[in-house]
């Protein structure tokens, strides 16, 4: 029985990596502008759509470059049309603005790129490979594309960690996140900072979109999957990059394991019409976690100074 469980665990962990990639986009924008960017899921979908359609009639590398340019242009548009007018508004207003951006992006993406399902062929090796044949009969099946995705994701994380902690811009980002007005008063060019942050988040979304697209195919439900990044943030804390990674892994693995182990139990006891509990399990897991540690794994403890 251990074999299949281990196998689902590894599969879950690899999916978890993809979740954390999406979550990274959230963390980046929240850390830099204090905005809880609900549109990150839509950006993933938009990026995947543009890459998928472009890669149909041009080599992958050019398609990727073009997609990056598109995402930067998108970031510029968001900053110029929306964020610039909402400086100093409180969090709730900004949060709802990203809701608007999400809806707009989904509609816009499907209008220009079309709305059926598109395959993304990254030329990654498809055939499954097996490891640990010696321990388990038949070895454990691992999907190579997920493995590569995990490696890319790890590289992205290291890159971003350095970017935030070390570079001058990173420090400015942290200041902006704390207080827009204070940052402006010390001369930090707020608009430029936001522009850059949204562009980087756009690229992260592109990579995530490509990985997810390769795995599930690019379709509308992708933005719902991206929504799954929210529980990851809850677990990992909104402001910490390592938190996003660990949170992603927990949610990824937890989901898969729950589907395999918890679902059958539920179906039997409640005589359900099928499992599919992974679309709510992540949220409930995050909710339970919140009740004990409201600020998540790595987030700072919020002290209400009166």
């Amino acid at each position: 029985m251990l074999g299949p469980i281990l196998e689902t665990l590894i599969g879950g962990l690899l999916t978890g990596v993809l979740y954390s990639l999406v979550a990274l986009g959230f963390v980046l924008i929240f850390k830099a502008s204090g905005v809880f960017n609900f549109a990150q899921g839509a950006m993933v979908l938009f990026a995947a759509l543009s890459f998928a359609r472009l890669s149909e009639f041009m080599p992958l590398v050019i398609a990727f470059a073009l997609a990056v340019l598109i995402m930067i242009a998108l970031a510029y548009a968001i900053e110029f049309l929306v964020l610039r007018h909402l400086v100093n508004q409180d969090g709730i207003i900004l949060f709802m603005a990203t809701l608007g951006i999400a809806y707009f992006l989904e509609g816009f993406g499907e209008t220009i790129w079309g709305s059926d399902i598109y395959k993304i062929r990254l030329g990654l090796p498809q055939n499954p490979i097996f490891i640990l044949e010696s321990v388990f009969p038949g070895g454990l099946l691992i999907d190579p594309s997920e493995l590569i995705a995990a490696v890319i994701c790890a590289a992205m994380v290291v890159l971003l960690a350095i970017f935030f902690q070390v570079t001058r811009v990173g420090r400015a980002l942290r200041a902006v996140a704390d207080d827009h007005q204070a940052a402006q008063s010390v001369g930090i060019p707020l608009n430029k900072i936001w522009l850059m942050v949204w562009a980087v988040a756009g690229m992260v979304a592109l990579v995530a979109g490509m990985m997810w697209g390769a795995k599930l195919g690019v379709q509308f439900s992708l933005s719902l999957v991206a929504l799954k990044a929210l529980p990851v943030l809850i677990l990992g804390g909104f402001t910490s990059i390592p938190g996003a990674i660990v949170g992603g892994l927990i949610i990824g693995a937890g989901e898969k394991l729950a589907e395999v182990m918890l679902a059958p139990v539920l179906i039997k006891t409640f005589d359900l019409a099928g499992g599919g509990i992974e679309n709510w399990f992540a949220y409930v897991l995050a909710l339970l976690f919140l009740l004990f540690r409201p600020q998540g794994l790595f987030g700072e403890r919020i002290i209400e100074r009166v």
């Binding site: 603005a97 809701l99 809806y103 992006l105 005589d271 679309n279």
Partner: protein
């Protein structure tokens, strides 16, 4: 311009704090309600009832519910769809298992069940705030959606997972034509709106608004956060539950869980943002706006003569909603209700600017 406030002095606190202290407002609203009950049935066609009036009225109830929670009490919730589903299925099961119960009791039962579930998912709001709470309510949304799709008891073991409602009657009088349904819904809306307005103007309303504006300050004047937040969740879910039951029974007739998915939550949230957070009037304006825009969009191609495919129209709809949300948040964060209030203020000060 039309206001003649001279002579309308207030001799009692009740008059001073009435819902409509100015006579011109009172007569306008009374006229509106009488017109709605008597005038509309004279000329309304079947399409106007089923596609415009009934949806707007039912969704207004949901919008009022969410406005109480998010607009007045400041607790963001994305679980509206789920709570509507609870209302719908509770009503369905009660009507199924005890057929003779009066339809009003069925709707009330739906409200109460939604309230209980709302309280359950409202508990986290005591420890977590803002975005974290939004995610917690998403948990409710997805869990409930899944539960109604998977637990066969709720859908009475229907193979397709969708359920239907047959005859509806009120005290033996069948509600079968759109006209009668409209009148029933309208009556419920008037009662619920009045109740909501009274709650919001009283002690509870002030407690909610205090929690919204500055919860630490609310605590020092003796408002228990538990009492304030949970009461907001309870009342909000009660309204949303009734809206869910009405939507299922009187709008859809037959439905499956997908009718109350996460997009429904977004839709109702958009209503109160565009309509106006923290206003009862805003809920109505928002509901009307969100229902009318798609209808307007569908007529567009025929007016302009350019053929637009239905899929494209739904995409345009998404884009337009997204753009409208951003537009309102920038231009007037307090939504249509504030624009209405500004217009009214200008009329009262007419011809002066200030």
């Amino acid at each position: 311009m039309f206001y003649r406030e001279v002579g309308q002095f207030k001799a009692s606190y009740d008059a001073d704090q009435a819902i409509f202290p100015i006579a011109q407002d009172r007569w306008f609203v009374i006229g509106l309600v009488v017109f709605a009950f008597v005038g509309v049935p004279l000329f309304a066609g079947q399409y106007l009832y089923t596609e415009v009036l009934i949806p707007v009225l039912i969704l207004s109830i949901a919008a009022i519910g969410l406005n109480i929670l998010t607009g007045y009490c400041g607790q963001v919730s994305l679980g509206t769809g789920g709570f509507m589903a609870v209302g719908a299925y509770a009503a369905y099961n009660l009507a199924l298992r005890l057929p003779e119960t009066n339809i009003i009791l069925v709707f009330l039962f739906a409200g109460v069940m939604a309230m209980l579930v709302g309280l359950l998912f409202g508990l986290p709001s005591l420890r977590i705030k803002g975005f974290y709470l939004a995610v917690a309510t998403l948990a409710a949304q997805f869990f409930l959606e899944w539960a109604f799709a998977r637990v066969k008891w709720f859908t009475n073991y229907a193979p397709s997972g969708s359920v239907a409602v047959s005859r509806i009657e009120l005290f033996g009088y069948p509600i079968d034509t759109p006209g009668k349904t409209y009148i029933l819904v309208l009556a419920i809306v008037v009662v619920l709106t009045l109740a909501a307005k009274n709650l919001v103007r009283g002690r509870l309303g002030r407690m909610w608004m205090a929690m919204r504006d500055m919860d630490i300050a609310a605590e020092i004047i003796g408002i228990r956060p538990l009492h304030a937040k949970l009461s907001a969740f309870a009342v909000s879910s009660f309204y949303i539950g009734i809206a869910g039951a009405l939507w299922a029974f009187l709008r859809l007739g037959s439905w499956e869980p997908l009718a109350f998915d996460v997009n429904r939550s977004f839709q109702v949230l958009f209503m109160i943002i565009i309509g106006g957070l923290g206003t009862i009037l805003g809920s109505f304006l928002g509901a009307a706006f969100i229902v009318l825009v798609p209808i307007f969009l569908n007529q567009l191609p025929s007016w302009l003569g350019i053929p637009i495919s239905t899929a494209m129209i739904s995409h345009l709809e998404f884009m337009l909603f997204g753009a409208m949300i951003i537009f309102f948040l920038i231009v007037e964060p307090h939504g249509l209700a504030r624009l209405w209030a500004i217009a009214k203020e200008k009329l009262r000060l007419w011809p002066f600017p200030y």
